[in-house]
């Protein structure tokens, strides 16, 4: 069965994605931070990692780097809220999420999705990547 790990600092998002993906027939684990996600990945390998890109602490771009270094075969989907992060909440590496997405792609992300994406869009992306991994 295709294993997916969802990393997002927002509980509601990671939980709804877990339900959506499980209903689509994937095995899903969730993590609230990039480090937690890395530990999960080390414990039991995953085919696809879905990570939010703007998070406190280690952000999505760093997460993509780390995953690429340790697990080159794992496919990565980065998701972004679009617009721009509120600078008072984080120390943003870029003013706009489009720049984050570009950095993540450069770091080796396979697909990027902008929130709010459709259910089918996400499921199809995971399915396509899983076939490739």
């Amino acid at each position: 069965m295709t294993r997916v790990i969802v990393i997002d600092d927002e509980e509601d998002i990671r939980n709804v994605l877990k339900v959506v993906l499980e209903r689509a027939g994937f095995e899903v684990d969730v993590a609230a931070s990039a480090d937690e996600g890395m530990n999960l990945l080390r414990d039991k390998k995953a085919d696809v990692v879905i990570t939010d890109i703007i998070m406190p602490g280690k952000d999505g771009v760093d997460a993509v780097y780390d995953i690429r270094m340790e697990f080159p075969k794992t496919r990565i989907i980065v998701i972004s809220g679009g617009g721009n992060p509120n600078p008072s909440d984080y120390e943003p590496r870029a003013i706009k999420t489009s720049a984050y997405l570009a950095s993540a792609s450069a770091a080796g992300a396979d697909v990027s999705l902008t929130k709010p994406f459709d259910r089918e869009e996400l499921v199809n992306a995971v399915r396509t990547l899983a076939e490739r991994s």
């Binding site: 998002i13 809220g81 679009g82 617009g83 992060p85 999420t97 489009s98 709010p116 259910r119």
Partner: protein
Amino acid sequence: MAVTLNSISSRMVLALLAIHAVLLPALFYGVLAIVKIGQEEAFVDHARNSARLIADTFAADKALGSEQETVRQLDNAVLGGRSTYAVLYTDERTYVSSLMDASEVRSFSEDFVFGDHDDDVYYLSVPLELENTVAALHLGFDESPTLTQIAGVQKTLTNIILVYFFVSLLLVALLSALLAKPIQQLRQDSREVASGNYSKHLLVSSRIHEIAELTRDLETMRSNLVGVNSKLQEEIAEREAAEAKQQSLEVRLRHAQRLESIGTLAGGIAHEFNNVLLPLLLYTELALEDLPEDGSTRENLEKVLKLGNRAKGLSQQILTFGRQAGDAEKLALDIAPVVEEALSLVRALIPATIEIRADIKHNIGTLLCDESQIQQLVVNLCSNAFRSLSVGGGDITVTVDEQHVTEDFVEKYPRLRVGKYVCLAVGDTGVGMDSATLNRIFDPFYTTREVGEGTGLGLSVVHGIVLKHDGEIVVWSKPGEGSVFRVFLPLAGQQSAGHSDDSD
């Protein structure tokens, strides 16, 4: 010109009077004295010669004849017209001419001086040497003809001097008037120049070279001043134009900065908004899956989903305005089919009572653009045009044409560059806008519509798209007549000349 003592004419006349006050009396008395002396000398010579001739007639006889004879001889002297008085004194007696009264006889010891006595007679005595005795012949000559002659000369002289005086006075007056005329003309002309008619030439012609030179110098000064003046005027106009341009640029810059900051704010809101929307939409979908096919709960949840999707659209509009939604992929496209496709969508959206007249020119050239954004631009502009039409209907005109942007146009819209552009124009016959509205139409969330009818994002999204494509949007509108939105987008190849620093 008022005649004062300080005018040229008065001064010249006064000078003439002063000169003549000295010169004329001197001339008069000098000439008169010369004439007098000459006449006197001539008279005295004549008297003496005459006396000598008369004396000679007596001396020729050697001795006096009878008394009768002698008196007759004296009468002859008088009658000869040479004298008016003839008396002969001898030792023995005195002979008097019978032609004169004895009472007139006078005695004198020496010759008279001409004019130095009352009766206008010049008396002189001539000695006679006769054989037996010494006698003295006294003769008197009338001075009056000579005196009359002198008086005549004096009178003539006076007349000549008077005539001369008045003629010269007249000449001086005329000359000074002639002299003053060009000066007066010059004064009049320069007054005209001073009162603002700078093009008035100072062209007084005068043979008097001081005046001619003065005129020339003043004219040179005037033309120099006119040159300097027009240069100054030009500089002032240039400065004013530059200031106006500067001002309009500042207004544009402020506007751009305001849009930029609102864009950043909106982007931040959208980011948070999307993080809420995603689970909201997905949870709703999940809940719907679990519900039976009918029932009011399902209906309600479907409404939630619909509203959530509307919120999603709104959020995307905000992001497009913020020019950050996704990464627009620009491709070289012919704009005509893109616009036509968008129009077919618009036709489906608006009532059939609204006529959309399209004049789309094909094969203009390619445009480096994001197809979906161009379509959104057309849809938003048409939707805006539709909303401005009243209930009764109206027309919407959509044209696509090639447009050559000129330097003048660039001056007004500095975002553009000289060269070939595509001009997409959307016009309506709707309510139009006043200038206060025109200034704010691209502000996000600005709307003239009722709450719920419009988001106030449509035109700011259009603005964002236009800027992203290095274009410019020019709006014409008049209350009651309608509006025309003209979007200028650079043709491919033109792009390099566009603002590369303006893109984000």
